[in-house]
Symmetry: C2
């Protein structure tokens, strides 16, 4: 049994920037690791790592992601808007996480993070934005709506899934993708990368109507 | 090298509900596992597992979470609104993931998921909503805004962090919380639970201004 440390809002507000970033980024728990691929209207490819891709719904199939405030240049956002709302989401796996992390550097607009990271652009007929060939799970999306969080000007992008490319070896008969088998990594805090080990797969919980307790 | 399977939007739209749910829920990558604790104005405690808690910003400290459409009763949402916007987020760890998963059953409003799951409510002076005593990372929040996704009526709740309770053993000197050491689990798809193994912790990427390549 460990002692509990209490951190108040006043403590957080009085922290300097880096410790505060590290603390608050640790709090949601494990995050997904994805590369978002876009291209500008001139055809310059852009690739950026995101730890904020989330499930929003299955019917219609929707994924969300969070963009930091657009007060500083955000090539990803500009490219999506310029390119008919098209972008790709590509799972980061344990073979490419170091290259993927390099895309978080603040490159000039005319520099492709594909080139600087050594990852390979890959195109399908169904999507004008570049995928990542080294990724085993690749999703093509189109922006359908966006919401600006008033409290800090971050932006929720809502994308509709237009197509999925997945390694045959990673998809099960019931259509679950085995993302652990595909080598997908999880992120903690701002800079921790983790592989995973499945401990369980649990059934849908049915309630015994009379007892209002879990049944079998 | 595995063959690629191509799944189009038309394929997704023609799938039956359960395979579609399993496929689309696999696509974002690993998700956080948290229990959201609330109480009604009559004092009935509610606990529900969420795989959608995300980081929204550090200054001010904000976490988001996604609620499914409120067209069917959603006790968590009603309780937050009734209780001055207060709720708690509690990391699910590998000792309690089975109990945590039980809270996804659809219990009657007057049934506490604390009781049915065997988890223990824990209160601090700073927050009227119940925490989970078995959780090693507990966060007290207050709702500051909400956004409804038009495409499917899911709701993004934006919460400001009011306090954090964390096991002393899990917090590092630089204020990163070692969520792996704390036993926090990751979720894949709708029902996969995973422990993690850290493979790396990478530095902030600085760019060599002249070369526009990663420096050291």
């Amino acid at each position: 049994m460990s002692d509990l440390k209490h951190i108040t809002r006043a403590d957080i507000d009085s922290m300097s920037k880096v410790p505060r970033l590290k603390l608050i980024n640790s709090l949601p728990g494990f995050k997904s690791a994805n590369l978002v691929g876009t291209s500008s209207k001139e055809g310059t490819e852009n690739l950026a790592i995101f730890s904020s891709v989330m499930h929003l719904g299955s019917n219609p199939p929707l994924l969300g992601c969070i963009l930091r405030p657009t007060t500083v240049p955000r090539h990803t956002y500009d490219n999506i808007r310029e390119n008919d709302g098209c972008y790709t989401i590509n799972h980061v796996n344990s073979d490419i996480y170091q290259q993927a992390h390099q895309t978080s550097g603040n490159y000039r607009e005319d520099i492709s993070e594909f080139e600087s990271s050594g990852l390979t652009p890959w195109y399908s007929e169904g999507c004008p934005a570049p995928y990542v060939e080294e990724s085993r799970i690749r999703i093509g999306l189109r922006l359908v709506e966006e919401h600006v969080v008033k409290a800090n000007k971050t932006r929720l992008l809502v994308g509709a899934i237009e197509e999925v490319w997945v390694h045959e070896a990673s998809i099960r008969e019931d259509f679950t993708i085995d993302i652990e088998q595909a080598g997908s990594v999880a992120i903690s805090g701002v800079d921790g990368y983790h592989t995973t080990k499945q401990i369980d797969q649990l059934d849908y919980v049915r309630i015994d109507e009379k007892l209002q307790r879990p049944g079998l």
